[in-house]
Amino acid sequence: MKRPVGDYLIFDKATQTWKEDPEQMVRDDVERHNWLHVGRAILKDWRLYLMLVPMLLVFLFWRYMPMYELLGAFKVSDVVKPVAEQNFLGFSNIKALLTGAGTYANLSNEFWRAMRNTFLLSFYGLLFGFPMPILLALFFNEVKSNLLRSGLQVFTYLPKFMSTVVMTSLVIMLIRQGSTTTGAPPGILSQLLASLGIISSETAQNGLLNNPAYFRAIYQVSGIWETAGYDSIVFFAAIIAISPTSYEAAQIDGANKWAQMRYVVLPGILSTIVIMLITRIGAMLSIGYEKVLLLNEQKVQIYQTSEVISTFAWRIKTTQNQSGLASTAEMMNNVVGMLLVIGANTIARKASNVSLY
């Protein structure tokens, strides 16, 4: 059937005629700032827009308004300044934190230490924690019995669903220090490590968590224990989504297991790997504050390796009530994190045409 002349026409199958498409008309109205028409369109469909309102309010109140509080970095004066400058705060919080201007040398050192710890914890997480789920997924693919595989999978997902409190309590108990008064030995895991010669028995006796040298290892190992199994779901799903004909074709070409892995499996899961990597890099600076706080609470002796930006900010807010400086620290963290997301996404888009956002 011939299309008549006119804009916004769509073909209506039921009546076999061309009709005007009211939705497209409204979209054009939006572009032309014809707000009266837009308002009428929204009113006509008000139920749909009403459904959005609770979600928008919740996000506005508890996700966006805290961002406004970040501006405390420019507004709340924690830095003592000459009287002449007191009306203008500007960048003095940022300056005090980054350069230690005035009497803030100590605080600035602690800030940079926390920044370094944040980076190192995420970097090691990327190095050791990221490949683990991929390896697990490849191994799961080897297990041909469905029953055995899903049994194993169920066990490995389990730690993910435990709370941070339960998880850290178990860690604390398993590597707890020995007692000098009763002569009780250290936790069972510390004993095992000591008998394997990985740590000295003295270190075990004094408590692994009291020793700054071991915090990063504890954090990574418990992290892998907690999430590796669950994170392997995505990769395993990508592997089983590869069509069997790809394997058959490769076999006909004489490819052995390793060649199949190189030319069939790896390309098949590459986009998933890239997406997960971007997500991971994007979340690099948002180290789970809950876990760090629960592991190092009241343990000043291990702050040098364990304190991250968010716990640093929390500490100077709660113990010294310097909310301006705390907001500044969080803002620095967020800005760098944001740049990392955008950077990782851009590189991935350029390199492999896969992008998350």
Binding site: L56, E69, E142, V154, M162, V165, I188, Q191
Partner: protein, 296 residues
């Protein structure tokens, strides 16, 4: 004809089985240890004599915990937060995800961005806390006085879960929706009679995510709830852990079970409900999780 396995492939296969078995057992071990330690005698626990199986079995640690009113209090507070919190979050997420899944929604891109932006950029705990203090008085003035209710309405919303629901709703064939509209169904009826029944598995997954994050919630409950009788189980466990570590060092412990056993008993009690619902819902994970995130 089936190709014979090369030696290297065989080794890889055996290694896979071994590695997975060991890893799965390691994932399970701390929980088994917790169960054993919670019912073992004092000397065995304090001197780290048990490796896997309980020794000198006692149930007094559990009994002392069940006799503690604070424990039941904490448990019921957790139930409160979990039930109301899940209903609140899931309700909002379903409504929002449904509206966002409609192509005809104006400013759809902007709304999506509003949501997704919170996944890249979070203000951090100090600004969130300051904002909470600021909004608390506002909510108190409109009659929401209870800290528990504030935790329910303020915490636990996640953009990712809404996106999962949105993607599930987008996959419902539009013909079915049109048929319902022709039959005179209103927007709400379309949602409850067509979309929700057709996206059951995703909704179950998302509900589980919400429920578990509520059940496991610790930090914000501790900061936001000022009355210690209203604190949930996770906060209670942590307080007990801190108290008992001190007690042992003081040497003022006379019961015939170790202080650690009480902590382990608490841990066991807090994970049992998760273990009970876990087998029913775990089959939905793979389906639900890989649908999200990739799009937009």
């Amino acid at each position: 004809m089936k190709r014979r396995l090369e030696i290297s492939e065989l080794i890889f296969k055996i290694f896979s089985y071994l590695f997975l078995t060991v890893f799965a057992l390691l994932c399970l071990y701390p929980f088994l240890y917790a169960v054993s330690a919670s019912i073992s005698g004092r000397h065995a626990v304090e001197y780290q004599e048990l490796i896997l199986f309980p020794k000198n079995v006692q149930f007094e640690a559990f009994a002392s915990m069940f006799g503690n009113n604070q424990f039941w209090n904490a448990y019921s507070n957790t139930l409160f937060l979990t039930i109301y919190g899940t209903v609140w979050s899931l309700g909002i997420a379903i409504l929002g995800g449904y509206a966002l899944s409609k192509k005809r929604l104006l400013f759809r891109k902007a709304f999506n961005f509003f949501l997704v932006f919170t996944m890249w950029f979070s203000a951090g705990i100090v600004p969130q806390y300051l904002n909470y203090l600021a909004t608390k008085s506002v909510f108190n003035s409109v009659g929401i006085m209870d800290d528990k209710w504030l935790v329910v309405i303020a915490m636990g919303m996640a953009a990712m879960n809404i996106i999962l629901l949105r993607n599930a709703f987008e996959n419902v064939p539009s013909e079915i929706e049109e048929a319902a509209v022709v039959d005179g169904a209103t927007e709400l009826q379309v949602l409850t009679k067509v979309f929700i029944p057709m996206s059951k598995s995703t909704i179950a997954t998302v509900a589980l995510f919400f429920a578990i994050s509520r059940w496991n919630g610790y930090f914000w409950a501790r900061q936001m709830i000022s009355n210690s009788n209203e604190q949930p189980l996770q906060v209670f466990i942590r307080n007990q852990l801190e108290q008992y570590t001190d007690l042992e060092q003081l040497g003022g412990w006379t019961a015939n079970y170790a202080p650690d056993s009480v902590i382990f008993a608490l841990i066991v009690c807090s994970i049992i409900p998760i273990l009970i619902i876990y087998p029913f819902i775990q089959k939905y994970f793979a389906k639900g999780t890989n649908a999200g995130g990739v799009k937009e």
